[in-house]
Amino acid sequence: MTSDGIPILSTDGITKAFGGIRAVDRCSLAIQPGKITGLIGPNGAGKTTLFNLIAGLYAPDEGTITLRGERIDGRPPFEIVQKGVVKTFQIPREFRNLTVLENLMVAYPGHPGERPLSALIGWKRVWDREEEVRKKALDILSLVELDQLSDANASDLSGGQKKLLELARSLMVDPKVILLDEPLAGVNPTLTGKLLGIIEGLRDRKSTFFMIEHDMDVVMNRCDRVIAMHQGRPIAEGAPEEVRHNELVMEAYLGG
């Protein structure tokens, strides 16, 4: 296993079985900070299950998950987010009846106004914080070019705009690691370019991305590293070129 530097996120021998099927099977891998790591693999390889394990939606049956030296396996999802790992959904899960701006504002972590007593009393500092949250949300909205739609209901956005909203919302929590589950699926080429541009811009500002992607063009040209999974565990890891020519990977994809 090639490794350069200390990983920000790593899994060690994690296993998750559903009935008799081991969706993730003794999976050990490491994600380098400040890089875009692509996760590829045929259908049923266990990619989404792996993401759900890292994000805390499932607890692993065995093994450990470590974020910057701290174990996070078995913690509830909200705690894992608070520690800096956020996951976007493959199919956008916007808060339909909130506006686009509110969708972002609600994602702000640790808002003092989200405690009923401080909300009821109405401290000035709570509402001053609310102003900061609004500014931050508007900044992120202009980054993803949704600022014109800030007052629209989230349910009124197009499919592609919802993908942007999904990414923008996850940025509100200042994540250290962002897990993107097929961020480009069903997105037109123009928007794909825009989304990748945003992701690369954030990567250059030291954000770490771990991304499930099926489009090999994107994986080969835009990812810094690639991990290929098959039958619940990684079979190859390295620079895109290395993984592309790995025999195990070709076999897994061609069903050899």
Binding site: P76, V81, R93, H111, P116, G122, W127, E130, M172, V173
Partner: protein, 341 residues
């Protein structure tokens, strides 16, 4: 003059009942309208509040032959302030706390259930609390007879209209205060995050929100308000009696009808809706004498309200499913006054 006084007494009594249902509806609007919690056990929180309050404002009655007896507090223990016993204040506060505590313990095992399962669970709990426990604890709750002789805070003896009117004013002011407090709460970041939980709990959790705790806060607070309403109901009725007389699933559904008609998620809407159900009840009881009805209509008009509620609900769901007043857009809004520097 005698007639005018009678009308005042009657309308004030009706108004107080509207206020009591308004409290229930505001509470359900927090739980369901804002948080998406399908609470089908309103009757239990309401009933527990009513029983708690009744026990605080009456003397204990020991069990005797052919008399179930119930808990109580020696009323001499409560000093009077401006001629009103402090027992009422204590009763109202304890009623809210008791219902909130019950909600907490019901929530621990059931809160993780999805909407429809949560509804069934709360409905079941409510039936158990009222029908199994409350009804079968003579010596504590008065068993099947309930608790009688509950006083009202302001008693004017023969001048019943004054008693009713002052009680109506008390209930109305509580509703107004509750309305403003709840508006302030739901128009805060807290209200916004509750709404996010309602829209998509998984997504809220994936953004770092402790959705269990948020739902618990909303559920317990709402149940506390239902208990508060129960205290005012017990004073209004001057007593409590167990199902099937009071605190049945039908009461739970009446509150649901109010919230759906008024507009789920809109506190103004549910206040308007709170007139509908008590009014239909009021109307169907009095229609006989108002219109000088003949038999068989005279004895059947009472059931008119059930038909009317059904028709109103069907029409509304067909043409205006969001209710008379839809939920306002833009959740959090800085209040006109804030505290601190």
């Amino acid at each position: 003059m005698v007639e005018a006084v009678g009308i005042v007494a009657d309308v004030a009594s009706f108004g107080a009942l509207v206020g009591i249902f308004a409290m229930l509806a505001l509470a359900l609007n927090l739980q369901w309208g804002k948080t998406g919690l399908f609470n089908a056990g309103i009757a239990a929180f309401w009933g527990l509040g009513a029983y708690t309050a009744s026990m605080v404002v009456t003397n204990p009655v020991p069990t005797a032959l052919a008399r179930p007896g119930h808990w109580g507090i020696d009323q001499a223990a409560f000093p009077a302030v401006f001629g009103v016993s402090t027992s009422f204040t204590v009763a109202i506060i304890l009623a809210a706390i008791a219902a909130g505590v019950l909600a907490f313990f019901i929530a621990i095992p059931t809160m993780r259930l999805r909407a429809d399962y949560f509804a069934i669970a709360t409905l079941g709990f409510a039936e158990i609390v009222m029908n199994v426990f409350v009804k079968n604890l003579p010596g504590i709750t008065g068993g099947v007879e309930g608790i009688g002789g509950v006083p009202q805070p302001f008693e004017f003896g023969a001048e019943g209209w004054k008693t009713n009117l002052s009680y109506f004013l008390l209930v109305a002011s509580v509703v107004v205060v509750l309305f403003f407090l709840l508006e302030r709460l739901v128009r805060s970041p807290w209200g916004r995050v509750l709404q996010a939980v309602r829209e998509d709990e998984d997504a809220a959790q994936a953004l770092g929100k402790d959705t269990f705790s948020l739902k618990l806060q909303s559920f317990v607070l709402g149940a506390g308000i239902m208990g508060l309403s129960g205290a005012f109901f017990a004073f209004w009725l001057r007593g409590v009696s167990p199902p099937p007389n009071s605190f049945t699933a039908a009461d739970t559904f009446a509150v649901w009808v109010i919230v759906i008609i008024g507009g789920s998620g809109n506190n103004r809407g549910v206040l308007a809706g709170a007139f509908v159900v008590p009014f239909l009840e009021y109307f169907s009881v009095r229609a006989k004498s108002w219109f000088d009805l003949q038999e068989p209509l005279a004895s059947q008009i009472f059931y008119f309200r059930l038909i009317a509620i059904g028709v109103v609900l069907i029409l509304l769901i067909m043409w205006r499913p969001q209710g008379i007043f839809p939920e306002p857009k833009h959740v959090a809004k800085r209040p006109r006054w804030v505290i601190g520097r």
